[in-house]
């Protein structure tokens, strides 16, 4: 099975944005239009993360997600502001495959178990944002990368696996939007800590970065900037490798 390659698209105020190190969101387009283009490009999977929904407490924008789901003929994950099993169920009802949990797990890690019990582990993704300290030590952060939990990522993802997560997304805050490559050491540590699939995120700037993440043990690689920007001046252009290119990098 070829590793999966997926766009992670950030939602803010109903539009798509892209951040750098979780800061300075830049508007990059309309989500429905983006899904249509990614459909045509036959992407492996797509994930939307609403970067405001947890902080504002508003929860998922169900109307927008219903519109996106109607257009998404590929596996579709959603994260942002999901705090209850009922919200997760409503998302599944719209056609969302995977609910992605992140900041909420700091205060309610049992939500992983509750969602897994109601819909199966394959529907629950624990997404972990990490920063590296100047001493080189990784720690899990929540709240848009602002609040450190002082937890070691390998130990943290093992807990999430034990609680019933079916997949882990490991994101490097320091690399986000920089297009300088994934934090391969972090990806390797996390992938070897669990037996469930791990998705590398944060920093992809090229398909060779993707190759490196897979080599480090990731089952899938996610990217934002790589799929929405083009060229040195980061012009907005939605793109995705064709099947031949994918076969070539994963051969």
């Amino acid at each position: 099975m070829r590793p999966r390659l997926l766009p992670i698209l950030l939602l803010s105020d109903g539009g798509l944005v892209k951040t750098v190190k979780f800061q300075s969101p830049r508007y990059v387009g309309d989500p429905i239009n983006a899904v249509r283009i990614f459909n045509e490009k036959e992407v492996d999977e797509i994930a939307f993360l609403d970067i405001d929904a947890h902080r504002t407490g508003q929860g998922p924008n169900f109307a927008l997600l219903a519109d996106i789901a109607t257009e998404a003929f590929m596996p579709f994950g959603y994260g942002g502001g999901v705090r209850t099993v009922e919200q997760a169920q409503r998302l599944f009802g719209l056609g969302v495959e995977k609910v992605i949990l992140n900041s909420v797990l700091a205060d309610d890690p049992d939500l992983v178990t509750r969602v897994a019990n109601s819909a199966g582990s394959q529907s629950v993704v624990a997404s972990i944002d990490c920063r590296r300290s100047w001493l080189g030590k990784y720690s899990v952060h929540v709240g848009g990368g602002k609040r450190s939990l002082g937890r070691d990522p390998a130990e943290y993802v093992r807990e999430m696996e034990r609680r019933g997560a079916g997949e882990i997304v490991i994101n490097s805050v320091d690399r986000d939007g920089t297009m300088t490559g994934y934090d391969i050491e972090l990806v390797g540590e996390v992938a070897s800590a669990v037996s469930i699939p791990v998705v590398a995120a944060g920093g992809a700037g090229s398909l060779s970065d993707v190759q490196a993440a897979i080599k480090a043990g990731a089952s899938a690689a996610a990217a934002g900037s790589l799929f929405v920007f083009h060229g040195r001046h980061r012009a907005v252009l939605i793109n995705y490798p064709n099947p031949d290119e994918l076969d070539a990098i994963f051969r």
């Binding site: 003929f73 394959q122 699939p197």
Partner: protein
């Protein structure tokens, strides 16, 4: 008209969306009467085996499905857990399945020779092992999206319709008579899945 069974096990929104996009009529059904009058039925499902079978039983759907298939040859397409429930049982649970296809579902095992992550989650190609209308004119480089920890092991190898690989070779599709199962999600498999659902729309008793 394709009826899609709505019984509280996984979402059916994606399936309805894709069938409509492919230009076919479809509607959710959830009652014994709805099953009894269905021209052709999709049995979706995500979750655990016993949860799925119990949900069918609680809604009084087990007998109507068997009746429709066995007495009038209603085409039935089981998807993912819906395919597994076409079998006699699963190592995942203790309840009997619908039993249209002899065999049980077994869990993928990671072995030192073939280390794999379970569930099998991702895109795989399939190899038809015999002819079937749903597999007619399969596009070159077709690929399908799988998410599962268990796979069906048919008692009669002739019931396998297509094979795929994940550590071992397993049944990606199974079929006997009017009953077909797809372990993958056609509704999440781009034009490859859409073509398959379109072909299902053309199946008649």
């Amino acid at each position: 008209m394709i009826s899609v069974l709505e019984y509280g096990v996984g979402n059916i929104g994606s399936i309805l969306n894709m069938i409509r996009r492919a230009g076919h009529e479809c509607a959710p059904v959830g009652s014994p009467e709805g099953v009894a009058s269905a021209e052709r039925l999709i049995l979706p499902g995500v979750g655990s085996f016993d949860f799925g079978m119990r949900a069918l039983a609680d809604r009084g759907l087990v007998e109507p499905i068997k009746e429709a298939v066995l007495s009038r040859g209603m085409p039935l397409l089981g998807v993912c857990l819906g395919m597994q429930m076409l079998c006699e049982g699963s190592d995942e649970g203790t309840l009997p399945g619908l039993g249209f296809i002899a065999g049980r579902c077994r869990r993928f095992q990671s072995t030192p020779e073939h280390p794999i992550k379970v569930p099998h989650m991702g895109w795989s190609s399939i190899r038809p092992t015999r002819d079937h209308p749903l597999l007619a004119d399969l596009a070159p480089r077709s690929r399908f999206y799988f998410v599962h920890s268990f796979h069906a092991v048919c008692a009669d190898p002739a019931d396998r319709l297509a094979a795929a690989d994940y550590g071992i070779e397993f049944s990606a599709m199974i079929s006997r008579g009017p009953v077909v199962g797809a372990q993958f999600h056609p509704e999440k498999s781009h034009r490859f899945g859409m073509a398959m659902l379109s072909r299902f729309a053309g199946l008649s008793p």
